[in-house]
């Protein structure tokens, strides 16, 4: 993560989670989570609902006390510090602006609570913040008089006004429509660049996490499934869950037929053999595994023009749908069905029932460990 440390500005805090655990009754909401967040980074906690991301955020904020484990902010444990003394900013999903205060009073709230600033100095800080979120002219309005997007900006201004070194955002764009959400994503990134605060951003929207973050933490069933940059997560997912959760994917059950050098030859359901770079895969000969091919990596031809060292699968178009920017095909190959994205001009001539050939650049196919239930054959071989 050193590449981010360089970009980090002085005002962001470093956050470390150490074996953090929190259970509600018998159910563990967060199970032994450890995480290093470099100063100034924009880190997303991404996962389906119930994966523990919001609980993690509430533990960092101090609304919940961990059962075990520790939270370190700049190497200092804050597990026993009450929320109001943590000097953290937070943006809530419902904005949670104080309805009985004007926009300026909402933004000034942390200053009144945390600082001894004079009235003029506070006024100046509030104006600066409102200018930063481009709402300079709305200070005297009440929250109910603002649109959702504007309320979101006020919530950002309030969270950042006392220069917290850590900013928590809990699905802040969940209540906005798609256009406004994309606009606010850009806006939040701009504000992050200009203030340099470390940001922990909770979302269940993978696009949001991929486009905004320096680091994405994928959470699944109260644990961290994988941590990495958006590119690493998308292009080199460590497991089935991450591969499936991020983007569209073709996941094919496969058996390792042969290992030759740094390449595996794996057999898929239709009996065809596909070559995969070994990479970090720990699969062994005869072991089960899952093959990942992203739909956009596959190219479709109507003739079997096989290039050197390329695999080709023959199949039949089962379904074709138009999505504006692309056509999406379901291609039956033996017992498997592969999703494929095709450019507009290519897809226009294709029809259901057409016989097609699928190829891809070598290197885009990845081998993932098979899910737990299928590991028996695997384990037998490892012994």
């Amino acid at each position: 993560m050193t590449e981010f440390a360089a970009a980090a500005m002085a005002s962001g805090a470093q956050l470390r989670l150490r074996q953090l655990t929190k259970a509600f009754g018998a159910a563990k909401a967060v199970d032994q989570i450890s995480l290093d967040v470099p100063a100034g980074a924009f880190v997303s906690l991404l996962g389906p609902s119930g994966s523990g991301k919001t609980t993690t955020l509430n533990l960092i904020a101090g609304f919940l006390t961990p059962d075990s484990g520790d939270i370190l902010l700049d190497e200092r444990s804050i597990a026993d510090v009450p929320p109001h003394k943590r000097n953290i900013g937070m943006v809530f999903q419902s904005y949670s602006l104080f309805p009985h205060m004007t926009v300026a009073d909402n933004v000034g709230f942390p200053l009144r609570m945390r600082t001894q600033l004079s009235r003029q100095d506070a006024r100046r800080r509030i104006d600066e913040m409102l200018a930063l979120v481009q709402l300079g002219h709305l200070g005297t309005r009440y929250p109910r008089q603002l649109s959702g997007g504007q309320q979101q900006r006020v919530a950002m201004a309030r969270a950042l006004v006392s220069h917290p070194r850590l900013l928590l955002m809990d699905e802040p764009l969940g209540a906005l429509d798609k256009k406004l959400r994309e606009q606010m994503q850009v806006e939040i990134k701009r504000i992050h660049r200009s203030v340099g605060t470390t940001v922990i951003y909770v979302t269940h929207d993978q696009t949001e996490a991929l486009t905004m973050s320096d680091v994405v933490v994928v959470m699944h069933q109260a644990r961290v499934s994988q941590v990495g940059s958006p590119r690493v997560l998308y292009e080199a997912p460590a497991n089935l869950f991450v591969a499936d959760f991020l983007g569209d994917s073709n996941l094919l059950n496969a058996t390792v037929a042969q290992i030759c050098g740094d390449e595996f030859a794996v057999k898929i359901g239709s009996g065809e053999t596909i070559r995969v770079a070994r990479g970090t895969s720990a699969a062994t000969q005869g072991g089960r595994a899952v093959l990942l091919i992203r739909p956009e990596d596959i190219s479709v031809t109507t003739t079997a023009e096989r290039a050197e060292s390329q695999d080709v699968l023959a199949g039949t178009i089962r379904d074709i749908s138009y999505h504006g920017d692309t056509f999406r095909l379901d291609v039956a190959v033996g017992t498997d069905v592969l999703k494929v994205k095709v450019a507009r001009e290519r897809g226009a001539g294709m029809e259901r029932g057409d016989r097609v050939f699928l190829t891809w650049r070598s290197g885009v196919v990845r081998l993932l460990p098979a899910p737990d239930g299928m590991n028996d054959a695997d384990n037998g071989d490892k012994r």
Binding site: P82, H84, S96, P99, F109, M113, D177
Partner: protein, 296 residues
């Protein structure tokens, strides 16, 4: 300025209702409306009519009322007693209602039971129980004398103190439940937001929760005040003639002096005072919120 106004939900097109569907609400309302018409509206109109037209149309009953020093005095006592009782009921009920909002479901159920049990006990029984407690041979005086704090029994009954004490006790459950209802409507994440932005527990209460609870306080205040204006049994049992309230006067006029026009006029005046207070209040504190209307 890049913010875009968000699209609002398009107004729902009202489907054309069949005759039956339009009649249904009316049918559902009918029993209730009939009841109100016969047992509330009709007597009310009759009362107003009687106050104006005993022997031909005249405002005599009203002019007698407003020139009578006794009536004025009783009216002042009534408003004053009701106002003081309301303030004390609010002061006592607020912490209780707040405890209800922040407590878990088990503790909440327990507190609610203790709040509501007295509410289900008849008002006369509750007033009488104060007689037993506060009388010369009552528990309070016996305890005080037993402990040697006083040598002779204190005069705890038949004064403003005993009337107010009992009234507050009787009004407390309703006040608590009304305040609690208002407090439940406050978004708790606002308090959380205050805390993460630097407010201690007390500061978060003072700057966020308390101001947001005030509409509920105003609403409960009005409700309890109007109710207190009409108290009859409590001042009659626990007060002296000096604590006489308007309802007692009306009762005396009607049942002992048999002066129905006079009693009706007093009733009408009480009604007018009550509704105008409610109207003025509503203008400033927007009581809609209490009944679940939108927060303005």
């Amino acid at each position: 300025m890049t913010a875009v106004a968000e699209p609002r939900a398009a107004p729902l097109l009202r489907p054309t209702l069949s005759l039956n569907a339009r009649l249904l609400p009316a049918l559902l309302l009918l029993p209730c409306l009939t009841w109100i018409a016969f047992f509330f509206l009709a007597p009310l109109i009759l009362m107003c009519w009687r106050s104006l037209a005993s022997e031909g149309f005249s405002l005599e009953a009203y002019s007698v009322l407003f020139t009578s020093p006794l009536f004025t005095k009783v009216m002042v006592t009534t408003v004053k007693t009701a106002a003081i009782a309301t303030v004390f009921a609010l002061l006592l009920a607020y912490p209780l209602a707040y405890a209800l909002t922040i407590s878990g479901s088990k503790v909440r159920a327990l507190i609610l039971v203790f709040v509501l049990i007295p509410y289900w006990v008849d008002i006369i029984v509750r007033s009488f129980s104060w007689l037993i407690l506060l009388g010369d041979n009552g528990m309070v005086n016996k305890a005080l004398m037993g402990l040697g704090i006083v040598s002779a029994p204190l005069q705890l009954l038949y004064n403003p103190f005993s009337v107010l004490l009992a009234m507050v006790q009787i009004l407390l459950p309703l006040t608590t439940v009304t305040l609690f209802g208002g407090m439940l409507r406050i978004d708790r994440t606002l308090v959380t937001a205050a805390k993460i932005h630097g407010a201690s527990e007390w500061q978060a209460f003072r700057t966020v929760f308390f101001p947001l609870s005030l509409p509920g306080v105003y609403g409960a205040g009005l409700l309890v005040f109007v109710l207190a204006l009409g108290f009859y049994v409590t001042p009659a049992l626990l007060g002296s003639p000096r604590e006489t309230m308007i309802a007692q006067t009306i009762m005396v006029e009607a049942s002992q002096l048999l002066d129905w026009p006079q009693a009706s006029a007093a009733g009408a005046v009480l009604l007018i005072i009550t509704t105008s207070i409610a109207a003025i209040y509503n203008r400033y504190f927007s009581l809609d919120r209490l009944w679940g209307g939108s927060d303005k």
